[in-house]
């Protein structure tokens, strides 16, 4: 179960997407997410799906891993689709029963929603698959740096994020180790009712907290020893620089958004008011 967490998961590779500047990737991802919600008809929707597919292809991330990131949201997609089919009214009626009405608007909304959610998750997981957590937080720090004017400690926040991401795998290992140790003493984690299962977690959570706090103290000491003060004056080992491919990517996404707007305008909306 714990192993299924895909947050901050990075797939090692050297595709164009991997080499793009992380700041640009974040900006492009946000731009794409916004454009997802302006699609009004099947033509622009198709363009969106095409764009998502080509992102996956040029990232060279195996399809299996991409599907893995969709798995957890499958149930949400299904749920919203079903609700939309039955509750959105308008357009041509398809089934006009006594208890259920299904209209074209309902079906279309369901389809739009499902595709939008899937594309959103796929593209944003492309961001994390092709960007290391450190690069990601560095980029977020850079992008948020204007907030420093308002005395918001951006670099401290970014450091906290980096550390949090860095320790996810460590904690997963730790949970594994403690679980095995308690299983060796006969702890029964898989059986019993809800309350019993919650209670069975105590022997795992307590040592986990104890060692996390110990680790945090050690880490703080280690950072202190290396004179970490945070804030201004810190330089980076890897300087981020925009280069040609970043601008090409930018032009690409601008064209894509323009394409969606044009298709929307040309073919009109599919949902009937």
């Amino acid at each position: 179960m714990i192993k299924d967490i895909t947050i901050g998961q990075y797939y090692n590779g050297n595709s164009v997407l991997h080499r793009l500047d992380a700041r640009m990737k974040i900006i492009l991802t946000v731009a794409f997410i916004v454009s997802i919600f302006i699609c009004k008809n099947f033509w622009s929707l198709g363009l969106m799906v095409l764009f998502t597919l080509q992102t996956v292809i040029i990232s060279r991330v195996p399809l299996k891993m991409v599907l893995k990131s969709i798995k957890p949201i499958a149930i949400i997609v299904l749920f919203t689709s079903v609700i939309n089919i039955f509750y959105i009214k308008g357009g041509t009626p398809l089934i006009d029963g006594r208890y259920i009405d299904i209209t074209t608007n309902g079906v279309f909304t369901a389809l739009f929603m499902a595709l939008r959610i899937v594309c959103l998750v796929v593209v944003s997981s492309m961001l994390t698959y092709t960007t290391t957590p450190t690069m990601l937080t560095d980029a977020i720090e850079k992008l948020l740096s204007p907030l420093k004017i308002f005395k918001i400690p951006v670099s401290t926040l970014a450091m906290m994020m980096t550390l949090a991401l860095r320790f996810i795998p460590t904690l997963v290992d730790e949970i594994d180790r403690i679980t095995n140790a308690q299983k060796a003493r006969g702890a029964n984690l898989d059986d019993g009712n809800f309350i019993e299962r919650i209670k069975a977690l105590v022997p795992i959570i307590v040592p986990l907290f104890v060692s996390s706090i110990r680790r945090a103290i050690e880490l703080a000491d280690a950072m202190d020893c290396r004179c970490y003060t945070g804030g201004p004056g810190r330089t980076r080992m890897k300087q981020m620089k925009f280069c040609l491919r970043d601008f090409i990517a930018l032009i690409f996404i601008v064209l894509f958004i323009a394409g969606i707007v044009l298709l929307n305008y040309y073919f009109g909306a599919v949902l009937v008011k």
């Binding site: 180790r177 140790a181 060796a184 006969g186 022997p203 795992i204 040592p207």
Partner: protein, 284 residues
């Protein structure tokens, strides 16, 4: 009948991913009741993976694991029974402590076995005695103990289940020499008192020579040698080839023998002293 037996056991790590690798394979092993087996091998040789199979924490890819005559994967009940028959104490076991008092923590295992209060009480006291924890410590919080005491409290938590086989994965790691000797003495006397089988995973050839009756050498995910201390330690050339060093005192004895002094072999300082003194006609 051996108490522990493995037949053709193999285990894979990261199965189904590009980094799939054999953690252990081709393991055929019989361990007789009452032995104290020292398991040595360098880091990554599969020692820890091997021992985690005996109580069903890890499930092998193929092969059979037989504990006390029962295949531990033959039924759910058998797997659970294996947990109590084979007490496994992990590396740095002090990180598993969680209860409010040491007493409660030691009683966690026996409680899971479904024993009654009276029996649990008896077992906790006995286990504490084996590991040399003073009675007044039992009512303290485990987090207030010293490092060595925590370690021993955690080991007591496994011993309290009164397993037929006790497995300790590097119980002396990170302890000072005195703490290490205390634990080794404790293991030795525990085995003498209870007559149970003990498996001791260790990096230290010296420690193993001191207390083990048999030695198992792991190398590259396989069992390289298994035999008495004399049988294994006398193959010093092979041991060196796989990156293990025989104890210093054994090396000195080897050199002395080579130079014409016929002293035999010794693997511990105590034994060496005994041999040298007996040559001079004195005794320790």
């Amino acid at each position: 009948m051996p108490i522990l037996s493995m037949q053709g056991v193999a285990h894979l790590y990261n199965k189904g991913t590009p980094s799939q690798s054999k953690a252990i394979y081709d393991i055929n092993l019989d361990i007789e009741e009452g032995e104290l087996v020292g398991i040595i091998g360098h880091t990554g040789s599969g020692k820890s993976t091997l021992v985690q199979h005996f109580n069903g924490i890890l499930k092998p890819e193929c092969g059979k694991i037989i504990v006390d005559g029962t295949d531990i994967w033959s039924s759910k009940k058998a797997t659970r029974e294996a947990r109590f028959k084979v007490g496994l104490c992990f590396q740095y076991p002090e990180y598993q402590l969680f209860e409010e008092t040491v007493y409660k923590d030691i009683s966690f295992g026996p409680k899971n076995m479904g024993l009654n209060e009276e029996e649990i009480h008896k077992r906790v006291l006995l286990a504490a005695e084996y590991v040399g924890l003073k009675k007044e410590l039992l009512e303290k919080s485990p987090f207030d103990l010293s490092g060595g005491e925590k370690r021993r409290a955690a080991i007591a938590g496994v011993i309290a289940m009164q397993p037929k086989v006790l497995i300790l994965d590097e119980p002396t790691a990170g302890l000072d020499p005195r703490g290490r000797d205390k634990i080794l003495d404790m293991i030795k006397s525990y085995r003498e008192k209870t007559g149970s089988t003990v498996l001791l995973v260790s990096h230290s050839m010296e420690d193993v020579a001191k207390i083990a009756t048999k030695v198992l050498v792991m190398n590259n995910a396989r069992v390289e040698m298994y035999g008495t201390v004399d049988e294994v330690y006398s193959r010093s050339e092979e041991l060196r080839n796989i990156g293990l060093n025989i104890p210093q005192v054994s090396k000195i004895f080897e050199l002395l023998n080579k130079n014409g002094l016929n002293l035999g072999s010794a693997y511990t300082v105590e034994k060496a002293a005994e041999i040298i003194l007996s040559k001079g006609g004195a005794s320790v």
